[in-house]
Amino acid sequence: MTQERDWNALSDDEFRVIFREWVDANCPEHLRFMRKQRPTFDEVAEWYHALNDKGWLSPVWPVEYGGMGLDAGKHIVYVEEWARLGCPRIPDHGIGLTGPLLIEHGTEAQKAEFLPKILTGEHVWCQGYSEPGAGSDLASLRTQAVRDGDDFIINGQKIWTTLAHCANWILLLVRTTNSDKRQHGITVILVELSSPGVLVRPIKNLREEEDFCEVFFENVRVPAKNVVGDVDAGWALAKTVLGHERIFLGAPSRPEYALTRLEILAKDRGAFEDAAFRSRFAKLRLDLYDLGSAFERFAKVLREGGTLGADVSVLKIFCSELYQRITEEMLTVAGEEARFYDDLMVGDRGIDAMNLYLDSRAPAIFGGSNEIQRTILAKAVLGLPSG
């Protein structure tokens, strides 16, 4: 496989122009700035396939596997322009999770089997980590896999599995050994969701969308060749896969979009005439500006070839909390209208205040809740003692 050119040989600005022009010309208008944060594969399939045909579906995978092979700096440009142009999020667990994990830790056979099918969209992946009793405390997971000849037999339950009902494969963390050290005895295994004994049940979220699911496993037989890495040693694999992409949990695009909506609504409703509102708006505006400065400080580390430390999650905390404060302000500006579930009208244009408000509840929870992040930072960055 090849790319049309060596993207990393370009400057970030040159790459930005090329990337933006093509994306703007090729991402369908009706998919821009979708209300839905997590559209299903079918809803965005044409965009997914267009990206793959261009060779731009997978920004970070090495070129030999069909990726663009972008360095971290170019990847940041890719993500920034994607957000600026309002492109929809594609079901990306294959691109962002299973693919990198296999490239790093998979066998040649696994890579040959799975990577091409991620790119064609034949395999749509979901991530089976959380369980009813294992959320923030992920290492307490109990879904069990027992060896039986050439197979493992899996029993247990996953939950909060995003888009599992639209996926056909799941990257599963299972317990293969019960050990005093809970991080030991966890294994990564690839499971086809059409296997007998798998049941997927969507859960309706606060926005009345079905974008996460429960997944039940009852005596599900999975070939042992689907184990990634070594049996019992999956914890380290599951924790390392994010790498430099942790920076994107703090990318300013969500609060930035919400602030533009707030500004439109506030202008129309006359809120800027109120000095108290102006002060609050100015605070939100500057928080967004300063988030950009802080994001840039970490992006610069990546551009200069460095690696991110635990401290990058300060972005995730600040970004998710800012997003919430902006959407809460939208409800305040809405006044009596805050009771409406559908869009607030500014002329003939809808402002999805309630949609954004509800959406903003999630990022403070997923990817490690903000409280978990603070506890990690306390130890990793400030060196504070354990309780």
Partner: protein, 370 residues
Amino acid sequence: MPRLILDDPDQTLEMLRDSVATLAERVDGAEVFRSRRARDAELDRDLWSEMATAGWLGLLLPESMGGSELGAGELTVLAEAFGRALITEPFAALAVLPGRILANIGGAAAGEIATGIADGSRIVPFLWQDTRGARAPMTLSAEGTLSGQVDLVTAAYAATDYLVLCKQDGELALVHLPARSERFSLSSRPGLDAAMIGQVTAKGVSVDAGSILARGATLDAALSDAIEMTRLALAAELAGVGAKALEETVAYTKERVQFGKPIASFQVIQHRLVDMWGDAEFACAAVTNAVEMMRDATPEEAGQSVLAAKARAGDSAVTITRRAIHLHGAMGFTDECNIGLYNKRAITLNAALGQAEELRLEFLARETAA
């Protein structure tokens, strides 16, 4: 731990940091703070001379004015180091602000005064605000006499010269006068950070035409730029104060044992410390951004970045140091404990040239107008 991260190809910035650190080994900032307070002094003359000798007072000035002709990066690293070392001499008010105004105006007269600032021989406060911060309260009559009252003056008594921003026929003028005149009357009040704050009343001080250094558009431009650079210095110093107060507090909470454990092991304390750390990181990132924008962006964008940096660093330092007092418990409420001094310094620097909310509203107004 949070600090400014700037490109430093020839290690100038690291050398500046080291030289302040070397001074701080000999001179205990907290001790100077307390002795200045005990004497009702405006500044510490010995320390000020050392700062002049080190070349810090003329850092930004052109070589023709006895300066080092360095830029925003060096300025912020130096001010950050002062903040960290609790060196609370009036660097921004007596070196950066008047020096920058004079450098912007240029010419022989301004150059001579600026040279004196750089070598420490002249103390030249800028007389330009009333008690509430309104600009140019003094007036210059058509006959050339200066009258009125200014407040918030740094080193009113120690001054050798005054730079006065006054109004003449509704237009701004910048006047240079020797500080010794019977027609100036002085008073002062204690400042929160152990420096006396002066009030100067002029009762018909005669000003000859040669003492008027600038007027009109030249003066407006010189002043805006100088305010911007001084705000940047204040922001950097605030970032240093906040970061150091955080470090002191982390160290203290690791040592302080209650219920058989260091209090830093309690999650409620940990999360507060992490939030303080996040504030300090954002302050440093905002100042770094401003330095980079001054180098790379348009003047308008650079101006916005400085407003953001001063607002962020001011808010952060005041909040961090206030929480730091609390986390030191009763000890933090004593005068003996240094942590309170960081809070006093943070409030003082934050109050100068616009508190956070005012700066944010200015940012918004400029953005809306653009």
